[in-house]
C-alpha cells in the first residue's frame, strides 16, 4: 500500500514536470521542470528495485547532463526578447494532441494486455552493482566497447566543433 502511494506521488510529479517542460516559455524554467521529472523517475526506478540505475539516474542524468544543459542556457544569457515568439503555439498543441491521442491509446491498450505482476521489491541483490556488472561484462561486452568508441567520437567531435571558430578567425 505504501509503494502504491509512492508510485502515485512520483508519477504525478513526473507528468507535471513533463507538462511544465513543454508549456513554459523560457528554457530555464523548462529545464527546472525536467529536473523534477528526472528525480521522480529515479524514485520510480527504486520502486522497480533497480538500485544501480537509481544512483546513475541521479548522478548522470539529474546531475551531469542537466547541469551541462543549465550551464549552456546560462552561458548564452537568454533574455526574454531573444526567445522565438511562438504565437499560435496552443493551436499546435491542440493539433499535436489530436494526432497523439490515437497512438497513445493504442499503445496503452497494448500495455494493458501484457501479463503483469505486482511491483514488489525483488531480493537476492536484483539490480545491485555486482549483478548488473556481471551481466554487463559477460553478455554485453561488445556493446559496452562500442559505447566507449561512441563516447570517444563525441569527445573528438565536440572538440572540433568548439575549436573551429578559432581556426576561422586566424
Amino acid at each position: 500500500m505504501f509503494a502504491e502511494g509512492l508510485f502515485s506521488a512520483f508519477s504525478v510529479l513526473a507528468v507535471l514536470g513533463a507538462l511544465g517542460l513543454i508549456l513554459f516559455r523560457h528554457p530555464m524554467q523548462g529545464a527546472m521542470s525536467l529536473v523534477v521529472t528526472m528525480i521522480s523517475l529515479a524514485g520510480l526506478y527504486t520502486l522497480l528495485s533497480a538500485k544501480l540505475i537509481f544512483v546513475l539516474q541521479l548522478i548522470v542524468y539529474a546531475g551531469a547532463i542537466m547541469s551541462l544543459i543549465l550551464f549552456i542556457i546560462m552561458f548564452l544569457n537568454i533574455q526574454p526578447e531573444d526567445l522565438p515568439e511562438e504565437t499560435g503555439r496552443f493551436y499546435y498543441f491542440i493539433g499535436g494532441i489530436v494526432i497523439l491521442i490515437p497512438i497513445a491509446s493504442f499503445l496503452i491498450k497494448i500495455m494493458k494486455s501484457l501479463p503483469g505482476t505486482e511491483a514488489t521489491i525483488v531480493g537476492n541483490g536484483f539490480g545491485g552493482v555486482k549483478e548488473v556488472g556481471l551481466v554487463l561484462f559477460q553478455d554485453w561486452l561488445l556493446p559496452f566497447e562500442i559505447v566507449s568508441i561512441l563516447l570517444l567520437v563525441s569527445l573528438v567531435g565536440s572538440v572540433v566543433l568548439a575549436g573551429s571558430k578559432r581556426r576561422l578567425s586566424k
Partner: protein, 98 residues
C-alpha cells in the same frame, strides 16, 4: 502493477513527442528528446522487473551513455548556431535547405 509503469512511460513519451513537434525553442526541443529517452528507460526497467532479468538495466546504462554523448554534441552545435545567427528559433536554422 507493472502495467502502470508502462502506461506512465507511454504518457511521458507522448509528452516528449508533443514538445518536439510543437515548440520552436532549440533547448526545449532538445530537452523533450531527453524526456523521450527517459520514458524509454522507464519501459526498459519495467520490462526488466517483469521478467526478473537484468538485461534491461544494461540497456539503460547504454542509453545513458548515448544521451551524454548526444548532449555534448548537440549543445556544441547549438552554441555554434547561436554565434552565427544570434537566435534560438529552429525555423532560423535552415542552412541545409535546397
Amino acid at each position: 502493477m507493472i502495467q502502470d509503469y508502462l502506461i506512465l512511460s507511454v504518457i511521458l513519451f507522448c509528452l516528449g513527442i508533443l514538445g518536439v513537434i510543437t515548440r520552436r525553442n532549440v533547448f526545449t526541443v532538445f530537452m523533450s528528446i531527453e524526456l523521450m529517452l527517459n520514458a524509454a528507460n522507464l519501459a526498459f526497467l519495467a520490462f526488466s522487473r517483469l521478467h526478473e532479468s537484468m538485461d534491461g538495466h544494461v540497456l539503460v546504462m547504454m542509453v545513458m551513455a548515448v544521451a551524454a554523448a548526444e548532449a555534448a554534441l548537440a549543445l556544441a552545435v547549438v552554441i555554434l548556431l547561436h554565434k552565427h545567427k544570434g537566435k534560438l528559433d529552429t525555423n532560423v536554422f535552415s542552412l541545409l535547405r535546397g
